[in-house]
Subunit: 470 residues, 2 copies
């Protein structure tokens, strides 16, 4: 093959451009970049290239393009759909952005921050806080996921209700295009109507249209008053009614509204030391967070009054920062407790909030009939219509075997139902390799064709993260 003839020359050129230390090819060295963290995807790359800045990224892309070799951009490698792992063995370059880890600038009067793609989400939050601001994106992997990955997957998380997804938090981007050209779109403007909003193309594109190297992020006032409560409700309908009431009464102060089935909390109590549900005995729970920038606001009193007006069955208000932390820890430990319980079939779906109750009422019996004894682990960001609807093996079953045997059938049931209720089969994790085929079942031919036309227009040679998304 012509390409393989060129590969040694490409590796030499990359070493010349980045220094030999930043072009890894030994199996042991590339392994951490070749496996996703859930260990469902593994494919060795031709090499891992780790440029130090945007112009080195451009050099890598240009050299690879000249050799006809594909690029797989990778940030913190915390993705859940195989989007940052090569799709074929030994032929693609993993382009790691981790060395692009500078906070380039904070513009306090403009309430913006310019950061490189390899900055971790937590480092970005910390830099904002040090400047007296909040960067509100928040999700479980924040210690290791990167801004570039957040941007390329349009990350969501727990603060979307008030602040939106990553897409809403970005004002500008810097991108290396598939031919190696650098596009400087690092605008710091809240209003700019001078043509197509090109940054939107790269946000959520999972690296299939170019490599994001930096971004301008919006900053918000820090929260200086907060309140947290766990409220028990009889069913999802009651949770939705509560959401609506709290939103009307408390407006923008309502920054989080998570729904959890009691079984989720039982799993946490079983597997995670020192975790306890303070309101046992109810079927469903809502975790409610209020925040606001003014100091000394009586938010707990307001939340208590609102919960009383809404006549919730029972509620526990955090009386201290430590208690608030403990309530959130319950929520954040669900995924880990699931993992310790065994394998399960995971679904990251979204629905109109108004359709969530019907979904839950119909999905349970469908799964029950198809997979007798299977256990549902249902929780999510109710305020955004985002459910993590996972199907675990019956209590005594071999969970790995259960998942291997039933994954396709269970996902088909769940996704078909989601689709029939105008929902999405990937709320916040993206398509990657995992759902790239699956999505063709649900999107119209018109829409798939539009996606292909966009891909063709920007990456006609198909060298940017092939085998992902489109």
């Amino acid at each position: 093959m012509a390409d393989s003839l060129r590969e040694p020359a490409l590796l030499d050129a990359l070493r010349g451009a980045l220094g030999a230390a930043h072009v890894l090819t030994a199996a042991a060295e590339v392994e951490p970049f070749a496996v996703d963290w859930r260990r469902r995807y593994r494919q060795l790359p031709l090499a891992v290239a780790s440029p130090a800045n945007s112009s080195e990224v451009a050099n890598v892309v240009r050299l690879a393009a000249a050799a006809g070799v594909a690029i797989v951009p990778q940030g913190g490698n915390t993705g859940l759909v195989g989007g940052a792992i090569p799709a074929t063995a030994g032929r693609e370059i993993v382009l790691s952005l981790r060395r692009l880890a500078r906070v380039r600038a904070i513009d306090a009067d403009n309430a913006t921050m310019t950061v490189e793609a390899g900055v971790t989400l937590q480092a970005a939050q910390d830099a904002a806080r040090a400047a007296g601001y909040l960067f509100p994106l928040s999700l479980a992997a924040e210690g290791s996921c990167t801004i570039g990955g957040n941007l390329s997957t349009n990350a969501g998380g727990t603060a979307v209700l008030r602040f939106g997804n990553m897409r809403e938090l970005v004002l500008g981007v810097e991108v290396v295009l598939p031919d190696g050209q650098l596009w400087d779109g690092l605008r710091r403007l809240r209003k700019d109507n001078t043509g197509y909003d090109l940054k939107q193309l790269f946000i959520g594109a999972e690296g299939t249209l170019g490599v994001v190297t930096a971004a301008v992020l919006k900053l918000f006032p820090l929260a200086r008053s907060s309140a947290t409560a766990l409220a028990a409700v009889v069913d999802a309908r009651a949770a939705i009614a509560l959401l609506r009431e709290l939103r009307a009464a408390l407006g923008d102060r309502l920054t989080g509204f998570e729904l959890m089935h009691a079984d989720c909390l039982r799993l946490v109590e079983r597997h995670i030391p020192q975790q306890r549900n303070p309101l046992p005995g109810h079927p469903w729970y809502c975790l409610i967070q209020l925040d606001e920038s003014a100091a000394d606001e009586p938010l707990s009193e307001r939340l208590q009054a609102a919960l009383e007006r809404a006549r919730v069955v029972d509620a526990a208000l955090a009386q201290s920062e430590a208690q608030a932390r403990a309530l959130w820890t319950l929520r954040e430990n669900i995924s880990e407790a699931e993992r310790l319980e065994g394998f399960s079939i995971k679904h990251d779906v979204s629905l109109p909030v108004s359709a969530i109750a019907e979904f839950l009422e119909r999905a349970g019996p469908l799964i029950g009939a198809a997979l007798p004894g299977a256990r549902i682990v249902a929780f999510g960001h109710l305020g955004d219509g985002n459910l993590h609807y996972n199907v675990a093996a019956p209590a005594q079953a071999d969970s790995a075997e259960f998942v291997a045997r039933n994954s396709s059938a269970a996902s088909r049931l769940v996704h078909d139902l989601v689709h029939s209720l105008d929902g999405s089969i990937s709320a916040e994790h993206g398509l990657g390799q995992l759902k790239r085929e699956e999505i063709c079942r649900y999107k119209s031919e018109v829409e798939l064709d539009l996606m292909r036309r966009v891909k063709q227009a920007l990456d006609p040679r198909g060298l940017m993260n092939p085998g992902k998304l489109v």
Copy 2:
């Protein structure tokens, strides 16, 4: 020409599809659709087609495409850049969306509303309010501009500080593509990461990639407490410091922060009956609006306390709804007062908020040197970095002649300075015909090429609103 041979057949086919009453060709009938409201662009179309629904829109586009005739989508025809007026005489079809005026659905639990493109912004606001919700987009033309136009121009206005531009308020769209296919992207989801976010392509595209026929809009809790104040400041730097302090102290309650030079208010007092600046004698003013969804909040007291802490020179707090209305009326009458004073050279620019003071300090002397005696009318949405920086003729001069002679030179000075400070030459009005050439001076070749590739991918025959934007 082959096209002109086909035109009578096209008109017949359109009459067959829509009914003869909805295909206008007589000069008197098409005139209102052929001139923009500032009367700077006028070009007669081949016909004005007014379909009643999305499938009729698709029919019009399909028939026009088959005949190789271009389409100019038009909503309320309130645009300021000639984007909805044909670019060439007698050869294009104006496609009026005004008959698509249905509110299709309101989903209260999901806090969304599905409306057709021809619904006026005010009708959309009213429908939301009737359902107990706020649709926050607000701008001077709201009585006649339409949702389709708001979407195609990514409209801004006075509430962007808290709620964002139209782009942030849209969850889904329905679009007739340039070949007449209908794309149903009417999602009601706050999280959906299943491929490229195609709706972003059509938002702000000024009708150059397809015809938006309907949209799903986000709704918000109604404001039930408000406060309004006019604050005097010594200069723009003081205004920016005040914005930052209020934002930190009041957070999301701060929904409007407008900056106005004293000369703007003098113009209003001179030309509009019963208008009075309640704090005369200062150089600059900030109009500040607080809103919040909880009832009976002491927002006026909070605003007063915050203004005292910030040590503003002077301030007038509205003591009633009528006084609040009066303060906003001052602001909203600036453009009309300008018009009554004579012609002026208008600029709709945006800058990082942190660069606004430097812009104002440098622009005044530049204009003063180039156009002695010219008067600056500077106001805008400071919270978004959006300035309306207009240059009026010297007091005794013929304003029409002044504008005709100096427009290019003044705009060049203003736009070059804006660009050098990382700003945008079109903050909220778009490019249309007015700035389509001008933008090529400021955008990089890389970016212009990306825009052309997107256009080529979606509208390869160039039949969607030619001569606009790209």
